[in-house]
Symmetry: D2
Amino acid sequence: MIRIGILGGAGYTGGELIRLLLNHPDAEIVFVNSGSNAGNKITDVHEGLIGETDMEFTDAMPFDHVDVVFFCFGHGKSEAFLKERTIPAHVKIIDLAQDFRIASPTHDYIYGLPEIHKEEIKNCCHLANPGCFATCIQLGLLPLAKAGLLTNDVAVNAITGSTGAGQKPGATTHFSWRNNNMSVYKVFNHQHLHEIRQSLTELQGSLEASIDFIPYRGDFARGIFCTEVVKFEGEEGSPTNPTGEQLAEMYKTFYATAAFTHYTDKQIDLKQVVNTNKALVHIDKFGNKAVITSVIDNLLKGAVGQAVQNMNLMFGIDETSGLRLKPSAF
Amino acid sequence: MIRIGILGGAGYTGGELIRLLLNHPDAEIVFVNSGSNAGNKITDVHEGLIGETDMEFTDAMPFDHVDVVFFCFGHGKSEAFLKERTIPAHVKIIDLAQDFRIASPTHDYIYGLPEIHKEEIKNCCHLANPGCFATCIQLGLLPLAKAGLLTNDVAVNAITGSTGAGQKPGATTHFSWRNNNMSVYKVFNHQHLHEIRQSLTELQGSLEASIDFIPYRGDFARGIFCTEVVKFEGEEGSPTNPTGEQLAEMYKTFYATAAFTHYTDKQIDLKQVVNTNKALVHIDKFGNKAVITSVIDNLLKGAVGQAVQNMNLMFGIDETSGLRLKPSAF
Amino acid sequence: MIRIGILGGAGYTGGELIRLLLNHPDAEIVFVNSGSNAGNKITDVHEGLIGETDMEFTDAMPFDHVDVVFFCFGHGKSEAFLKERTIPAHVKIIDLAQDFRIASPTHDYIYGLPEIHKEEIKNCCHLANPGCFATCIQLGLLPLAKAGLLTNDVAVNAITGSTGAGQKPGATTHFSWRNNNMSVYKVFNHQHLHEIRQSLTELQGSLEASIDFIPYRGDFARGIFCTEVVKFEGEEGSPTNPTGEQLAEMYKTFYATAAFTHYTDKQIDLKQVVNTNKALVHIDKFGNKAVITSVIDNLLKGAVGQAVQNMNLMFGIDETSGLRLKPSAF
Amino acid sequence: MIRIGILGGAGYTGGELIRLLLNHPDAEIVFVNSGSNAGNKITDVHEGLIGETDMEFTDAMPFDHVDVVFFCFGHGKSEAFLKERTIPAHVKIIDLAQDFRIASPTHDYIYGLPEIHKEEIKNCCHLANPGCFATCIQLGLLPLAKAGLLTNDVAVNAITGSTGAGQKPGATTHFSWRNNNMSVYKVFNHQHLHEIRQSLTELQGSLEASIDFIPYRGDFARGIFCTEVVKFEGEEGSPTNPTGEQLAEMYKTFYATAAFTHYTDKQIDLKQVVNTNKALVHIDKFGNKAVITSVIDNLLKGAVGQAVQNMNLMFGIDETSGLRLKPSAF
């Protein structure tokens, strides 16, 4: 039984992590820390857990009683926390924020995308869990990066559900505004571009091309729907310009051993993955260009689902343990 | 040209009022006051007006240049405002808050429901505009009250759009929570019950029966959908227990001269009135009970649409002026 | 391992049953019959199963290889099917249609509501699974029926998600119409009233009162949100008119051993149970009346989740096996 | 008074046209033809018109009594109709289908985009009304085409509401499927590309670049939200690579005289134009690329709103007559 501590457990990712771990056959939540909610029942904050747990939030951090701690802080707070507190060396850390996603001599966090780092993850003690947009966009492009085919600028359009904006109400998550609405934000300038470029560069060796990413606020709560347009050079069928069949084969091979990422021959819709840890990827060729579609649930494969997948790998248990979720489908 | 001043113009009702009045053939907005937004363009705050106006919010209140002023304050602030400021006697007031909806010797505000008070409205100087739930519920019950048929408790269930909760983001208007959700609030205890009972009593003479009102938060932005169940006594067809045909006829007659409230023989759906000033009402008989359905747009017939209808009456112009709106339908 | 056959597996309930059973630790799907889809992959029809199964629909019905068969036909077709085909005596039947929900000397089907029939279910071979509205409404009223308190007419308002209308597109499930809309149907005349009255009568001994049920079409896909208003007689605190505290205690006691139905002290919202097999119930007292709120997921506790719960009971395994589902919450 | 006949009046565009014309001060609907609905009331088919009209559908076509006829047929049926029937020469035709949008020696229809063809429209007798996606995409690109700046491939992503798919229910407009979902269709292959290229070529002289258009099915009923990414060549500030300020100025100038298309300095959201005939356009520069956002209501500026705008021009009346619509905003 993996013993678990959760820090920052009152937010959306904290709640989703608790929802997952309560049904995880090999894990046990030891404590859920929340400064603002200490003493309150978890069910007072997180919907849908009535009847499943009587736990309360605590302001204690009994690290000696856990094997792993999840950081569900906001971005920037993980690093700040570690400057003030020491986590015992035997306790593994899974950080859901972006603080340690970019490799650096100053830290030993592994970027936790199992599709490319499975062995490193198995052996690591400190893990930086990928961002939601970053996961969805990378899963669409990684096979091409591995083949060295990202030589032209890539047009990326990805639409996210409102839960990506977290629990705090604001103008762009106000129901009256967002319902039946559509908008863009952080055009060409989203912070996830850094980790995306890091992974693509790692696989391709170098990356000159620009990743032109337009993020959209979608009129739904869960999920990310992403399209990516890639342009190839040279004659169709040559190594630099594979045919549609060759591309599909390339993707199938790349994800053949992935636990949750599947290539599908058909067009994808978002709800095929909502409330699961799955990612679906599809590619079509048009002339010298390919259009890739990729979808994930932003709170699961895009956040705590992937974090639990990484935990499973870090503790040497079945990668899918606790993650065989019924899709909501509707 | 009716010259208009708006106080509290930065909120949802203020914005909707501006949207209406910009296209009103007989009205002219002279000033839109907003303390917090003074100096800002109206289009910076109110969506959908780009290209239609260059006006700015002001912190001035040039009452001498207007014929009527609309109070779009929050509840309780109209009365407070009038204790601090004096409105010239020739300037009519239309108050959208609930401060003066209940008749009292301490004020001369007329309750502005044209379906029952048209003559009083035409002659008044100060008008209290009805609440949104109150309008929808009353329109379903008024013909029965006039016939003295509300002798048993009435079961009222009414579902409101999120705009009823205003512009300020909060937990129950957070998109991630409200999307695809349903809940109730202020069960049997909604503040609009006072004005509802006042009108019903006025028409029926007295009202012993309870109005058991359950308000629901709906998963949409605009509109109120209401059902009401009434029980009759005596033999069917007798004066105290009309047949379905008699009831339908009673409703048609009652609303025959109403400008915006229509009886319809068919079942109603909410979107039939969204983005219009209309109300639709339908009644069915089942045994000794009748089920009434009534619908309005909460921001229009439930707020500023009705306020403009009242203004038209108060200034002796066509009741429908500026209110012949294209339904959004979808 | 319980070996399972599914008839009518291409519809919404069939798909949801497959989604559940693929992750059920004690069950194995042997065949999924569908006349119209024989030979097609299950993933061609049911979203969200890509990567989870390679099964195909079949037109065969190898009853000898299964322990239980689920009827996912439309209403009326189960009885018709059994007139043409014989199911071996050792094969249990769980019928999701309404054909056998009303007890009759002509059949031996048990009405499968575990909250009242757990022992009968454990020992039965043929089970009629309750309707979705019927489940939600009964769970709100059963404790009162058991206490003999349903002596006055009950006002029931229940709002259902669109999946209750099934897979076939139509005018009232057309997105352009239903999105942001609200409407009622089958007012006071819904077919589930029969099974509701049957259970209430069973617990209370007799039931003179009317159940006045207004069904609403909601603007969401999954779930039923129900309110029920009950009027009591006599002095508050007397046996015929319990206090709010007494009522809450009555509900807690009634559901103390229920696997998935929980009483909660707080107001409920629909998404607390979406994508789970749970039901939540809450009661408030106002004067001589009580307002009950109850919620379920119409496809799970309202259909196949409850069917699997019944299957677990019929085969003597843990009632919650395969049903500890992560709530979607958003 | 312009006397109007409508053919194919029972569909979504027919209904929206009726909603507009009922409030048009200079127009009068003489007949609404619908084969399938002849004899039925218009309010039986088109929601939201109860209380506004008592007209019935007719199977007659009294062309002698009208000045203009609107074809609201499905695509391909306009041309077929004209092979079987003759419209008197004095009756103008406005065709909402795509049959005559591409210029050809075989017909004299003018492509009705007022932003580029105002004079031709004023003088024409036969008009082909632009497609919805085509209108939104062109309005985002026309100023660049006029400046000869579309020399590189353009990445277009546009999300449409469900009303674009019409009135007939189907799998991808089924509420249970589409609600909270996202998907793409006709990738790089939408039929509107022909008319888009025609206009761009007209303004730019020639067009070598590809318009790479990905259409998305959005989770809302009304509107199109479009982004377009354009790459420039040469040094920033040179004629082939304008600065952001220069681009904004170019757009403002291009649309300075447009009645309904406005450039805005701020980011756009879809609901700013829903239920209006307006289009909003915004451009941002990032390095050598620009990102344009454009929005319209697909049924209004994208269909019958623009058709009425064209009618106004064809009859020499105020271009905005009958089209000063209150935005729904929510």
